[in-house]
């Protein structure tokens, strides 16, 4: 069987074009709030991206069931960023140019966020991300780029403060080789030294290695009082499993999204005992979080994690902003209302049910979110308080709260 090449090429071109045109025709519909969901569904961030994507869908459905925004529905368009800036940019272009979305949400990897941001800025639409690279704070985005996650620069101060308060004099770092881990590695030592500590070693590890024994041993070699872990849950499970099976001991500290329930289940309560977890707060106690968690766990039988909470906040803020703009979904209109609905002063709200009425009536609200108070500073960063926890018997036990006023981002 041989195919005539010309026939083959013609068929392929025709088929592809038909799909392109067909896709476009399917969206010549009524005006509504169109949100481009650009999370990683494959690649290194797939676990978080899938969770976020689900949360966006759940909240959009909830808001639409309640009548939508001034009667018009929220429409979600999902593209897989593949944890790859190349795919992210192509996805963003499609969302912006074809689906004509009014905002982009959900970019997770700092590399993807930094590649996609110029596309959003050029299209003059808001872009909400969950990335932690310090470069995002200073990115020239004409106030279109927002992040609900904390910058590594900020959390480094928190780690340093926490370590100091717990009496640790020496620390080592075991960090992932990506913008988040490297950002932590760059930000933490100076702050820790300012707090009177000494860094005994900084070990960078790559994902997808067969074994991390040597990296773990290197990190523990200087016998540090505490080891700062800058990775994610998936590689965290692998690293900690090896660490535990090396039987070397040591105290670990790291971010909440690395040490979530999946992590604890993955390595078992015994191995997780005593880990110090630093996480954004308020979180678990806010009504927004309770709503988000209820929504998520009913559908997916799983707790809403930090990323799901941020996704909830992104969509809620954009929906409220559109409502506050009296249904005007243009990027500039949304941008103008983002801080109006999420920053103080105003009536504190935590759900669409609470907020829709007041916003519609022209009242100023202050949405307190599921992932933080989502009060954005002039760089578009959310200021978050932090909670310090210790894992005891497989659960996070709150040790102390560190307010953002105590944290210096210098």
């Amino acid at each position: 069987m041989t195919l005539n090449r010309r026939q083959f090429l013609a068929t392929g071109l025709a088929g592809g074009t038909a799909a392109l045109v067909g896709g476009r025709l399917a969206h010549a519909q009524s005006e509504a709030l169109r949100i481009g969901v650009l999370t990683p569904l494959t690649g290194g961030g797939a676990v978080y991206g899938t969770t976020m994507s689900r949360m966006y869908t759940l909240l959009a459905d909830e808001i639409n069931k309640a009548g939508g925004i001034a009667g018009k529905p929220i429409q979600l368009f999902t593209e897989d960023a593949q944890t790859n800036p190349d795919a992210g940019v192509r996805g963003a272009r499609k969302l912006v140019d074809v689906n004509k979305v009014h905002a982009i949400v959900g970019t997770w990897s700092s590399a993807v966020t930094l590649a996609v941001a110029p596309v959003a800025v050029q299209a003059r639409i808001p872009h909400f991300c969950v990335s932690s690279s310090p470069a995002i704070s200073t990115f020239k985005d004409d106030d279109f780029l927002y992040r609900t996650a904390y910058s590594q620069a900020v959390i480094s101060s928190v780690y340093a403060t926490t370590a100091q308060k717990l009496g640790y004099k020496t620390a080592a770092l075991l960090i992932l080789n990506n913008p988040y881990g490297i950002g932590l590695g760059d930000s933490f030592p100076a702050r820790f030294e300012k707090a009177g500590g000494k860094v005994t070693g900084k070990v960078i590890y790559n994902p997808n290695q067969s074994s991390y024994r040597s990296e773990i041993q290197q990190a523990l070699a200087g016998k540090p009082d505490v080891i700062l872990f800058g990775g994610y849950t998936p590689d965290g499970i692998q690293v900690f499993k090896e660490w535990f099976q090396l039987g070397l001991g040591g105290t670990w500290m790291g971010p909440g999204f690395a040490f979530d329930q999946k992590f604890v289940q993955g390595i078992g309560a015994q191995a997780a005992e005593g880990i110090i977890v630093v996480e954004g707060a308020p979180n678990l106690t806010s009504s927004a979080y309770k709503n988000a968690n209820k929504l998520f766990s009913a559908a997916h039988k799983d707790e809403a994690d930090f990323f799901a909470a941020m996704a909830y906040d992104h969509l809620m803020i954009l929906a409220l902003a559109a409502l506050a703009a009296k249904g005007d979904t243009a990027g500039d209109a949304l941008k103008a209302n983002i801080r109006k609905v999420s920053n103080p002063p105003g009536k504190v709200v935590g759900s669409w049910a609470d907020a829709a009425g007041p916003v519609n009536a022209g009242e100023k609200v202050n949405y307190e979110g599921a992932s933080s108070a989502v009060d954005f500073d002039e760089n578009g960063d959310a200021k978050t308080d932090f909670g310090v926890y210790r894992i005891k018997s497989g659960k996070w036990a709150l040790d102390r709260v560190i307010k953002y006023t105590e944290v210096s981002a210098s």
Binding site: T2, L3, V98, A111, A115, A135
Partner: protein
């Protein structure tokens, strides 16, 4: 919609340069290059770093070309005498080694943080929107590359390369310095890939090592196979078809809600894999070799 088509055309244009380069390598000369993305990466990073340091765009692109060609000569001299599968694996390994270096020599490349804010080649082009002007630049590059490649393919050099591809023993017997010719082909293809890399970097304005994985190399192989490995025109057509189909499946997802996006993405890659297999076997035989190579019992040095 037009904006999207312009973006798509720009990306296809950049990819065509990669396919033209690979066609010179494999279609014309029979070099099984599985590390093509390395030259792409070198072009992109060199151009990005130099323009950010104030070097003019064309000079920076030129430097990227020189770097890629130098790398190709280095790799080629070390590996071109080996049999095809070893060459393939080594070039694959080389491209991964380069990616590792880009990831870890952070002082130079900023590693995993990537290089943001890469400037466009101009401040503004009067009267023309920026992305249209950029498409113009890419199309100009493709046109020049196409003409040069056609000329090369039809020249005596091209004939010699094809002869080497078909039967390098015979070519050697006729007194041709096979290694030197292969290195020439490798260099030309690397140069095209470097130009593509530079155009890519200035288009997305952000480069990071994760953009330069073997996936790109194999997409290029797919494009080349679709269009027919020995033909420059085929390189253009094949690339266009591949990317239109790939982008088309993106839309299929919107109208086919049954499967979720990650599954559809995985399905797309499975189709690529199947396509590679089916097309390799059933479309006009790969490379137009006139007789099958008999694998030697021992590696030829």
């Amino acid at each position: 919609m037009t904006d999207y088509l312009i973006a798509l055309a720009t990306i296809i244009g950049i990819q065509v340069l990669l396919t033209l380069g690979l066609t010179l390598h494999y279609g014309i000369t029979g070099l099984v290059n599985f590390g093509h993305v390395a030259f792409y990466a070198l072009g992109a990073y060199a151009s990005a770093l130099l323009t950010l340091a104030g070097v003019p765009f064309m000079v920076a692109m030129g430097a990227g070309v020189v770097l890629a060609v130098a790398a190709s000569l280095l790799v080629g001299t070390a590996t071109l005498r080996l049999r095809e599968d070893y060459f393939a694996i080594l070039t694959l390994g080389f491209s991964e080694l380069l990616r590792l270096l880009l990831l870890n020599v952070r002082d130079l490349t900023r590693g995993a943080l990537g290089i943001p804010g890469i400037p466009r080649p101009w401040r503004a082009v009067s009267g023309v929107p920026d992305h249209v002007a950029y498409l113009g630049l890419v199309l100009a590059a493709v046109a020049i590359a196409f003409v040069l490649s056609e000329i090369l393919a039809r020249s005596p050099l091209g004939r010699t390369l094809r002869a080497i591809r078909d039967d390098d023993q015979a070519a050697m017997a006729l007194g041709k310095d096979v290694l030197r010719f292969r290195l020439t082909a490798l260099g030309w293809g690397a140069a095209l890939a470097a130009v593509a890399g530079s155009l890519w970097a200035h288009y997305v304005t952000y480069v990071v090592p994760d953009q330069f994985t073997p996936e790109i190399t194999f997409y290029t192989w797919m494009a080349m196979i679709i269009g027919g490995p020995g033909s420059m025109r085929g390189a253009v057509w094949g690339t266009a078809v591949l990317f239109v189909v790939l982008e088309g499946t993106r839309f299929a997802k919107d109208v086919m809600p049954g499967l979720d996006a990650p599954r559809l993405a995985a399905l797309r890659q499975i189709v690529i894999g199947l396509g590679l297999i089916v097309l390799t076997v059933y479309l006009r035989k790969l490379g137009g070799r006139t007789r099958p190579r008999v694998a030697p019992a021992h590696v030829r040095t």
